[in-house]
Each structure stands twice: as C-alpha cells, then as structure tokens.
Symmetry: D2
C-alpha cells in the first residue's frame, strides 16, 4: 500500500504539512556505498525553492535539508556514503505566517482539494493546504537527487515547453538555455515572451497551466516488466501523483493516435554500438521495457485554483458563498514542477534499475 | 511489487502467454457475498472477444471463462456468491495456430516488444508475443466484471472518440449508440465514416491509433488519498499498463494547460442533494480524491506495429533486415481497448473503495 | 497486501478450495533461464501426497501438477526454461467424494477454522475446509521446488524430530534415514517406535502433534536486512503460515532464554575458507542477516482437530451440540508438514536472495 | 517490500542509527479522528526507556518524542486528533558519548550483527550498532501507543515469565504486580528472586535471556485471513523482528506438539454473550483468524552478546583476536523487550483491524 510512499525497492515515504513544524522523507532501499553530500541535494532543492524569481510564490523558505540517517563517514571510505539503511531527510518549515485563514477555513476553494479532504477525513489542517500543498514536492526533489545517482551515467533533463496556450518553437530548442531563464525553457524567445505574459497574469491575480517535457539519457536497456510493472506505467503513476497534474504521455503520446502503423513504428538499423533507432515515437519504451533510447515523457499542469478572482462556492455548512485566495501563490505552478518531474522520473528509474537487478541479475 | 499484479486490496494477478495452453487470473481481496455468475463475466468478455466484426482480428477464440475457486452456492445463500477467498479465472487458448513464426522469431518487429523482451530476459516465447500479447487483457476484462459489482450503483461507460485523425463530433454524443456499432462510438455519423476508413486500412495491411474516453458515475465522494495514493495516479497507472497505450488524461487533461485559473476551477453551488459543480474540468477528482462528480479519463492507443508493410529492422544476430507481419491482426487495437479500459477503471475504483473503507470506515 | 500471496520479489499467490475443481499457484518474479521440469516438481509433491503410507490420510489424490505458463522450450536453449514471466501451476482435485457433510455443515468443529471463517465472511464452502484445508500446501511444495533452484548450491532438509511427547535421540541422527521411513525421521529407532504409537492413535481416531526441524546449507552470507526485513522474521512468517503451526524458533530458540551471554555467543576463528564459527546457537542468522552457516529453524504442529472422539461445540444457530469428524484424516499432520516446511524455507531464501541482489548487487 | 517498514494498512517506517542525531518513525494509514497526546506516547516510551532501574542500561536518554505531522487541533474537534495523514515521530539522540569504539570497530563481536552487517553492506556505522541497536525499538513503542487506540476496547498486557532458567510460578500470577517491580513480572516472589540473580549477572559482566508473554483482550472476532494473511503469522513476523528474539509461539505453542487432538481442541459452549470456549490452547486464533478469545503469544529473547567476558573472534582483516564489550549494556535485554512486544502486538492488531474492515466492511 502506498498512500504516502512511492516505489518498491527504491522507496520513499514523505510526511509533513505545509504549515506544521517540518516536512520530511524517508528513503528505503538505497544501495550502500553511494557518495552523497547535502550540497548536492540542496542544489536540486534550490531549483524548486520558492522566491527564486518574480514568477514564483514569494513565500520565503530556505528549504535547508538535513540528513538525519543512512549516511556515514569513516576512514575506510572516502567521504559521506550511503550505508544501505534508511535515509531520513528533513526540512524545517520557516515561513509559516500566522496569517488569517478565515476565508479558506470556512469556504471550499473551487478546483482545490479542500472540499474532498474535508469530506473524506472529517477534518483537515486548513492552514495552507496541509498535505495537499505542493510543499510536499520539496521532499520528492531531495529524494530524487539521491535517486539520480543509482544508475551510473543517467542524465535527466526537464524543460517547460508550454505555458497557457503558448508553446515553444521546437526548432529553437537549446539545452543550454534551460537553466538561463526563469522558466527552464529551452527556447530563449519563448522565455522572453512568457515573462511578459506571466507578469500580466500575476498582476491580474490569475494563473496559467503548463506542459513539462522530461528526457532521460543513459537509461539501460531492459528496465521495466511486461504487464503491470511497465516502466511507462510507473512513470505515469509518478508524474500523475504530482500536484495539479492532469495528463501524462510517453514519446509521441496522444499524437500517436493520429499516426499510421508505418509512421509510428521506430525502424531499426545496425549501428556501430548496437541498434540505431531511426525515430523515437516510443519514447524509449516498448512493451513496458526500456529500449536504451532516451526515455521521453510529458505532463500537463493545470492552472492553480489559488487566484484572486472571486469564485462561486459553498461553505462547510453547505451554504453558498464566494471565495478568493489572498496569500502568496505561483501564477504558474508548472515552472516549479520542472525539477519535481525530474525527481519523479529519477525515482521511477532507480526503482526499476534495482527491480531488474533483483530478478535478472545485472 | 507488482510485475504481474495490479491493485492492493482488490488485487489481480494475471498469467499466461498468448500461445500457451491457457491464460488466467487470480483475484484476491474481493469482498464476500457478492453475487456473480459466469454469464455476467462472459458478457463483458464478449465485447472484447476477437472476431466480433470485420474490423477486429479474425483469430477465433471463444474466450469461455471458467471460475475455478472463490465462489460457492449453498442453500443458505441465494445463488453463486463470492466467499472472500481468491477467485481463479481461466480461459483455454483454443486457436493457437501452428503457423510459421520464422520471420518474427529471428527478426525484431519495429515498434514491438520483441526486442526489449528478448534483451531483458535472454529468451522469449516468440509465438505470438507471449506476455506482450494483448490476449492478456481478456483477464482484465473478466476481473473487471467482478470489480464493477464492488461499489453499489457504480456505472462505467467507455467510448471510442477518435480513430486516426478522425474525432467524433461531441454534439452528436448519444450513449445509446455506443453498443450499436462496431466501434463503441457514441456518434453514429462518425461510426459510419470510420467503417469506411478502417476497411481501407485493413485492405492496405496498415493500422491506426485511437482515443478512448471512460466515464464512471456513482463514484462515492472520498476515494483516493492525498499524495501517492491519488485516485487519478492509479487510473493513470492502470490505463498506461494496457498494451499500446501512450497517453492518459483526467478531466480537461492536456487542455487544462491552456486554461486560466478562472476557467479551470469548477465552481460550486448548493444543490438539492448536496453540492452542484458547474463544470467538471477536474474529471471528478480534486487533490487525488473523488468529488462525487463523474470520473472522466481518456487514453490514447498507438497504431499496432503488426502491419503488412515491410519495415527496416535487425535480426537477433544484429544484422539488418526487413520484416512484415502476416498473421491475423486488428487494424485498430483501440476498438477492443474500450472494454479493457472500462475494466481497468473498475479495478482502480474497487481497490480504492476498499482502501477508503479500511482507513476511514465507511 | 498478502492475504493469499507470500514473498516479495519471488512471490507466490495460491488459490483453490479442497473440494473445488482444482487448486493452483502463480509464481511471479522467478528469474529467467532456470531449468525446470514437471518431474522435478512432482518429486517434491509426491513426498507430501496423501496416501503414501498408512500413517497419512487415505484420500487418493494423484496431485499431478500442470505447468500452464512461464516456461518455454526452444532450440536456442537446452530444454524447458523459466522465461521470467509468471509460472502458473495447477492440480486438479480428483478425489472430492460427494460424501455427507451434514455434521460439519451445521456444527463448528472445536479447534478448527470453521467457526472463525463462517463468522468472518458470513459464508463458507463447508465441504472439507475450503481454503483452511491443508490441501493448499500442495501448491507451496510445488512452488518451493522451483524456489530451491534460485540459489545455486542451496540444500534444504526437513526432519521430524518429535511426535506427541516422543522426541528423537539426537545422537542417532542420520541424514540417510530421513527418506527411508514413513516419518522423515533421522533416527531409525524413533521411527520404529513412532510407527507403533501412530497405529494406536489412528485406531483410536485420535491425533498427535509434532515438531519439524529444517536445515538449509549453502545459504550465502548477507541475506536478510536489519529491521523489518530480517531473514528470521520472514522464516517465522512463512512457517507460522502453515496450517496448524503454533510455534517457530531459530537456532537455539526458546532454549536461548536459559543461556548466559557467554554460552550463547557463537565464537569465531579464522578458518581456511573464511570464518569458522565454533557453534551455531544463532541458527545461521545474526541481526536478521545470514552468516553463511547453516540456517536452522524448528516449528511445532498441533494435533489435528479432525478426530473421531465427540467434542462439545455449538451449531450455526448457537445451540449446543457435539461433533466428531468422520472423513479421511491424518493422525499426525506433522508428517506431511515436513516437505511443506522445506518449501516455505526455500521460498523465503529465494525471495531474500533476489532482494539482496536488487539492493546490493551481487 | 518492507526492509524498514512494518504493516500494510497501518504501516510504520522507522529510521535512524543509535549514534546519529535522531531516530524516527512515520506512521501511514492511521484512521483520522483518533485523539492522541504526546503524553500518552511518552508514558509507553518511559516503560522502555533506559536507566529506569539498576537492571537496565545506564545510558541516559530522555527519549522525548516530538510529533511533527499528522495531528491537528482546531475548534471543530476536541483536542489533538489524527488527520489521516502520515504521523511523523522523532526522538533526538542525546547521550551519544564520544567514547572509544576502537575495539568494536576492528573486531566483530561474536553473536552480534557486526559481522553480517559489515559483510552485507561493505560498510557500517560502528558506533553502537547503527540500525542493529535496540534503540530502534523506541519508535516501535511510540507507534504502538497510537496503534493501541485503533481498536476500541483493546487491551494489551506484556509480562516477563522467565529470566535465564528461572520461570515464574503461574499460580502466583497477579496482573497488579506487573507494573510494581523492575521486571514487568506478574509473580512478586519471582521478581524478588530475579533481582538478586540479575545483580550478580550484572556484576559479572554477563547476561541472561528471557521469555515474554503477551495477552490481548478485546480483540474482535474475525481479524486475520485464511492463508498468508494469518493473524498468528503476522504476530510471528512482528515479534521475531524484535532484536535478539529467537522464538515465537501462540497459545499452547510448542507444548501443543505433545498434546492429543482431544486435549488440544478448545471445546465450545453456548454462553450468555456468545460462544464460551472451555480452554484457549489456540491462543485466540483458529485457522489464522481471531476467535474473540484473548490472543496470547510468547517470545524468547537471547542473552545479549554485549558482555565483559572476552570471547574469541576475528578482525575485519580476518585475523584472530578476542573481544569484550565495555559500554553500558542491559544484563537482560528481555526486560525492556516487554513494552516492545506489546507495541508489536498492537501494530499487528491495528493493521488487521483495518484490513478486515477494508474487505468485509465492519
């Protein structure tokens, strides 16, 4: 069962509410002997951290991670290493403003989890969303930083390819650009355009959705399993588990529906270093198992429902009202979802790497 | 771990290769006391059964299901009932033609699992795809027929909404039409058009992709869980685990990326029988938990790679060759994916119904 | 969840009632490439099969196993091999006499699962115990025959060391004897004595308990895990899951409570081929992880409650009555528990072998 | 998979080394709405806390538990309540003396996990045992304090019934005594005798084993499941997972082997409030399912291998040496195992209560 855990052999369990004292994560099953430093984890957290640009929420959270267990430094090894025991990561919540929650305490925000949580559990921590807050995703990013190191040679890159209706021009794709703008955008022109658009959206108190594309290179051939252990199935599960995600696709995705069998099948030639695929509509996965090509996934993030425009809703007592969200919110939660998506892909791949090794050897 | 199992409390484990003596399924965790007849299961299997129209494979499989355990008929109960013990279902493989597999035995079909399976496991049953054959999905449909009965009042309807580039006209949607054409198509005009298109595709030995839409009504409020037990996450996992599926979306799905927060948030009014949602962009799921509205999911099926047109590929020894598939194949595997998608949705919902009851009571 | 499954990476799921059409098992996660024949599996089943001597039940079951999936024979491999896909095993129930169950249908047999099953599920298959029948253990033995082959060089030997109050003389222990009497008894004198005792017990319609000892050699160092993945924990789970087992111990077991720390700690010397332990009170497991010494476990089987002597009980309607069991029953179910115990040990070891390989490599 | 997790629906994951900054636990799946205070948890921790009497280790650990998530206090509920989200518990390690570990860093203590851990993982935190330290059990006790509240009316009582060779006199059993001596001993005379014996053992730098008996009353009929979800199976797993435990038995346990079927079967009469069992050899469990009678389990704890007497062993380089343990250790770890055993029983029962409710309803 996995209400708050993800993965099987490389398995994370997260805990913590956005307005409690801290949030945290336990990683179980990490192989021993992996070098890992708090600085490495921090570098990924900083990509997701709020307040990095004017386009994300202004909540001030240093998101300083502590490693409480599972690593050890001794003279027999060079530096800090995983020991094979559970790795406990913790981030203190610093900026939990004791602000006025009265409007969202009594009223359900439309499009928000408030309604379903309250009805399911009978009570909820109304200060900031509790477990429904995207703050939980900080722990995914921290755990993902370790997961990335499980498969030697693995590289995962996320990029924002659409904000609202505005898609990048794929002819402009430049990996170098991704970390040089506020949007993880591979298209410099689009990034400029998006800055203007988002400024207006922020000023209007509105929000926009987005699409993120993930690419993993260095994925060994053979990860995944035939039926209910498909690599793409677990990617879909991992990405759909991210807050506000409403869609996931692999390779050609929905566009594959419009292709003919001739167009869609990736032909193979004998390359110098093994098979050469002439295309990658499969997104690096055939029959649920990795082909050795880049693994490619995309996911859509809806516009956040935390907007300033008043919306019709009901109160806890069932009476009608209107609600608008004041607080500090991201005009486009899709931006900070980029490192989160990368982390989920890393977690899925690390897990399947160990699962494959368990059954088949190496 | 779940290489061949799906679900947690309502859990299925399937087995069997397309050209072995039989395929089967074990359902574990089914509540006791549910009335179930072989005829009911058969009625769903018949919807998926090959050879139902000229638009699906002509393999002749009666797909007659046997219930080997987990049900009991005695004088104290009215008819056949589940006993709470594992339900074993079995279908004999009848039409395993001893045909010539030599072309696919030595060559990997592009876009097919042949390559990854052989590389992962070192050997495979090359007769018809082994576990990668969509024949496995018959057991999903059989298990789904039982899963449907776990939640009282639940109704699940699947419909084909796109074949190749050809989408239905949503203004023509008529639920009555769905079972009156060969395509589970709610738009009678589209169904006529598709018949012509598919006749040509079949004659050409080509194939087309498709998009299926699933709607569940009668889903109780509160199914799902906040973080890694999201209802939409498990729907994504279940639907992406179906053969040839490359994309999954919930509610507005990818289109949500292009909406503003105002457009996307489903406003609420106080209805006579509880909250009335003014729209359903959420697809019946907020924060991973069902709202009580209809749950709506869509998934895309790629065109099958089993086509008559020769495609470039390599042999087991790495040398270059071309391959084309002769056998009996579906020109559009998306058609028979409709009842399979319904079954996966039923399995996910039944599982979450029991999970919710376990944690929260009722 | 594991109501009818056991193990994680090497995982079995069993199904079937004693008086249904068949019983079966699905093995998931078996490594590919293991040579396996029906004859090998059958040889273990024959050890457990009823009617092998006058000391076991006279139910006539050939217990002929069929392999329905997961193995393949082709020219590229030498003989029948596992393919890495689920292995489905099935045994038809042949000797389900349509006898009179009226006495056990209405009355709960004291010491038997009838009462708890009926109360838990609200209904049960009263013909012979349903899932509570030890017939289920045939599938454990069949699966265990495959599990034994996962760890190269592994050998598992079970022996009956006590029947009723009558223990073997450990000075007489001779492995050669174990398969030369009707009791898997390593002490020829004890076996003779037991034959006389059991003849009387059978004639009296009574029953006796027993203690079984299991020894595994060739277990690699390092199987198991620190806290909740202890090898001894999973052995305890596996052995306690066998019908009628009421106690499990590892190494010195309960006797360890009476030892001093000096007596109990197994001292180590530097041997030619690695560490030499001077004793094995640990039973080959320290801190939940195998030491490389023989793994030793014992378990106690209670006397069956299916006896001819009338016992006080109640009917389904709560009224008082007496009940005695007529059918064909084992006077000492502990005898046939020997191959079952071996199988459970094999399943636990195979699972932990794959789990270790997954996390640590090899 | 469960290397550091226990349970399915009520599931704990523990982390932390004995000499790291802290230890902790995440409880997932707890029902919402349970009243819980830090003081309640603390009261159970205090029973296990070191330094409570001269008979336990003198390590000074306040073991002050912090609740970091999963509970909420608001005006709509009366006091602190579980919210249904993960409950994170943390205890800072205070008394991690920077003592000299050189003797146990280089040499493996016989009978201790040092050897197997180092060999399995290739490295280990040698300061105090890492994850093999019984300090981990503090988190079991903390989690158990919450688990106890899941089943209304449940009461669990542990008692020490044997130290070394010295058993209690069962005729002297008095529940009132259990919390009035340093041993959780129900026999006042035995407690006095044990005090003298342990004083000598402690002075000698030796250690003794022990046997603990657990009794749960108020266990509803119907918890557990037929085959691999047996209640006794999971009790065996849970108790065997406690450090130094070598044996587990249910009800009559090993003694059942020596009984006849007539003696062992617990006869039933029609009582005023449902069935009256005339004995409880079953220990409250038949066919893996609770009968409604008290659930009774016993487990044996070996004498700790941390003794002052030098024992033969080898160094990390394989050379021969002798080792003795200096530090602060319990002469009888069985004493503090009493609250740990209670906690494991509570965890198993809470889990099965939710599992039963999930499948069967209520």
């Amino acid at each position: 069962m996995s209400h708050n855990s993800f993965g099987h052999l490389f398995r994370i369990t997260t805990w913590g509410e956005s307005h409690g004292p801290a949030i945290g994560c336990v990683i179980d099953g990490c192989p021993p002997g992996i070098n890992i430093t708090p600085e490495e984890i921090q570098s990924f957290l900083d990509k997701r951290r709020p307040g990095q640009s004017r386009h994300t929420t202004q909540r001030r959270e240093p998101d300083q991670v502590k490693i409480l267990s599972g690593v050890f430094e001794d003279e027999y090894t060079d530096g800090l290493r995983t020991t094979g025991t559970p790795i406990s990561l913790l981030i203190d919540n610093v900026d939990q403003r004791s602000k006025d929650y009265s409007n969202i305490k009594e009223s359900f925000r439309p499009g928000h989890a408030d309604y379903t949580y309250t009805k399911k559990y009978g009570l909820r921590d109304y200060r900031g969303g509790g477990r429904s807050s995207a703050r939980e995703t900080a722990m995914r990013v921290a755990a993902g930083a370790i997961a990335r190191k499980v498969i030697p040679g693995l590289k995962i890159t996320g990029a924002l390819v659409q904000i609202g209706e505005h898609k990048i021009n794929r002819d402009n794709w430049d990996d170098e650009q991704i970390n040089q703008n506020d949007f993880f955008c591979p298209d410099a022109d689009a990034a400029n355009e998006w800055a203007t658009i988002l400024d207006k959206v922020r000023k209007d108190g509105s929000s926009l959705g987005a699409v993120i594309e993930l690419t993993a290179t260095g994925v060994p051939l053979g990860l995944g399993a035939p039926v209910y252990g498909k690599l793409d199935q677990d990617l879909a599960s991992g990405l759909m588990s991210i807050n506000a995600v409403k869609a996931v696709e692999i390779g050609a995705g929905f566009d594959a529906a419009a292709l003919s069998g001739e167009q869609n099948a990736d032909e193979i030639r004998a390359g110098d270093k093994g098979p050469d695929f002439l295309s990658n509509n499969a997104g690096g996965i055939l029959g649920g198992i990795s082909t050795g090509q880049p693994v490619i996934a995309r996911f859509a993030v809806k516009p956040t429902s935390s907007i300033r425009t008043p919306r019709k809703t009901i109160n806890r007592d069932g009476s009608e009202t209107e609600v608008s969200t004041k607080g500090r919110h991201d005009p486009c939660v899709g931006i900070r979802a980029v490192p989160v998506g990368e982390a989920m892909m890393a977690l899925v791949l690390a897990d399947h790497y160990l699962r494959h090794r368990g059954q088949v050897g190496s």
